[in-house]
Amino acid sequence: MSNKIELTTPLSTEDVEKLNIGDKVFLNGIIYTGRDAAHKRLIDLLNEGKELPIDVKGQIIYYMGPSPAKPGNPIGSAGPTTSYRMDAYAPKLIELGMKGMIGKGNRALEVIEAMKKYKAVYLGATGGAGALIAKSIKKAEIVAYEDLGPEAIRKLEVEDFPVVVINDTKGNDLYVEGAKKYSKE
């Protein structure tokens, strides 16, 4: 556990295959944000056979809705939201080539299976560290669903954005292994 790795988006299958649970990864490049409401719209579009407003291939979606930016700052506080609310939508996007998700909290079995099958990873950002995480976001721009306010899809330019690998492409789970290691029950 605990290798330090730098990655730049978009990610390839090889990029994510070399990651293991517990690895600390610093992300660079572009990542997109999306929460429940935006995910629902994306999946509705797919169900209607329409094109998505963003190409998810090789990309990472960060489950996050920021607080408003103060004048002069690209973004307000910007920590992760709880991921299970996106579980119903994630497998479809992984199938389309999405390579990573950033959030906090456990994922459903179907999501973990999809990550294994189509080679993607689930990355954890430190929940509640919104002021600190905002420091690694250099630019933010709304690219879809502006009417959703904090839930709009944003394109973020990040530098050394810190995450930890929670689910790798081999089906391992840091939440399970971490608790096992330190449990004294």
Binding site: G22, A37, M64, G127, G128, L132, G178, A179, Y182
Partner: protein, 279 residues
């Protein structure tokens, strides 16, 4: 009768929410330091250092600790010798919330339960009002985030399960919540009263300071025992594994119906934000 103008109430509420969202309490920060020193897991210690650094940035830059700046929950103790002038008391509080969330660049998270349409200004506030003796108004502001709130539960236990049943339920709730409520958490436990009263007791328990024990020695012992059991679950900060799953747990106990044993567990994240003021 002492007169208090609604403008003053509005201003105090506004300032409290801005302050609570940007400045974490000293008791919570001290608990972070303790974990940085004591947790066995290197990953856990690193997460705790990040949380400490995050709190420092938030305080210095006056930016919110967490982007989820919560629904605006208030506990108000209104002295019975206060006469409120200038307008409607509830409107004054909601105006304070509106102004605080606008001026403080705080996220507005209140929405319609079904259409999910945002109300736009984080109102309505959740106001718990109590009339008390005296001519002062005490206002406690608690911005409550969604992640930890979603892991909270009320359960009507069978009286026969007793305190052991209560302890088991609380430990299990924390275990099942896992990494979702942003551990290390603070746990408020309301025991007794009625269905809704237990939930209120659990929420109010979150206002206590870390390290503060229930005055009843039996209950205090139960708090310590449950905290110890929780921290042996291994969940750790952010669920990455470690010995710091909860920073503290607070039990509040009141009489209940002879047929019931209501129990509420209100989970609070490490962003355990609350501030109070007296007018």
């Amino acid at each position: 009768m002492r007169e208090v103008h609604t403008d003053e109430i509005t201003n105090v509420v506004r300032d409290l929410f801005m302050d609570a969202n940007c400045n974490l309490g000293e008791d919570v920060l001290a608990a972070f330091d303790h974990a940085i020193e004591k947790d066995e897991s290197p990953v856990a210690r690193e997460v705790m250092k990040e949380l400490k650094e995050n709190a420092r940035i938030a305080r210095e830059e006056n930016s919110p600790i967490c982007q989820d700046t919560g629904l605006a929950v208030l506990f108000v103790e209104l002295g019975q010798d206060v006469h409120i002038i200038g307008g409607n008391f509830k409107d004054a509080i909601n105006d304070g919330v509106r102004q605080g969330y606008m001026e403080g660049y705080l996220r507005k998270s209140a929405c319609d339960p079904f259409s999910r349409k945002n109300t736009g200004d984080n109102t309505p506030a959740i106001i718990h009002l109590e009339i008390v003796p005296g001519d002062k108004i005490k206002i406690m502001a608690v911005p409550k985030g969604g992640g930890a709130e979603n892991m909270s539960r009320v359960n009507m236990l069978t009286p026969a399960v007793g305190i052991e049943g209560v302890k088991d339920f609380v430990v299990n709730r924390v275990k099942e919540s896992g990494s979702n409520p942003c551990p290390p958490t603070v746990i408020g436990v309301g025991i007794g009263g009625t269905f809704e009263r237990s939930a209120l007791l659990a929420k109010k328990a979150l206002l206590r300071k870390i390290g503060d024990r229930n005055p009843d020695p039996e209950i205090a012992k139960a708090e310590e025992e449950v905290l110890d059991r929780i921290n042996k679950l291994g969940i750790g900060p952010m669920g990455y594994g470690g010995n710091t799953t909860s920073l503290d747990i607070f039990f509040e106990v009141e009489p209940c119906h002879i047929a019931s044993l209501p129990l509420a567990v209100n989970i609070q994240c490490h962003a355990s934000r609350h501030k109070e003021a007296i007018i």
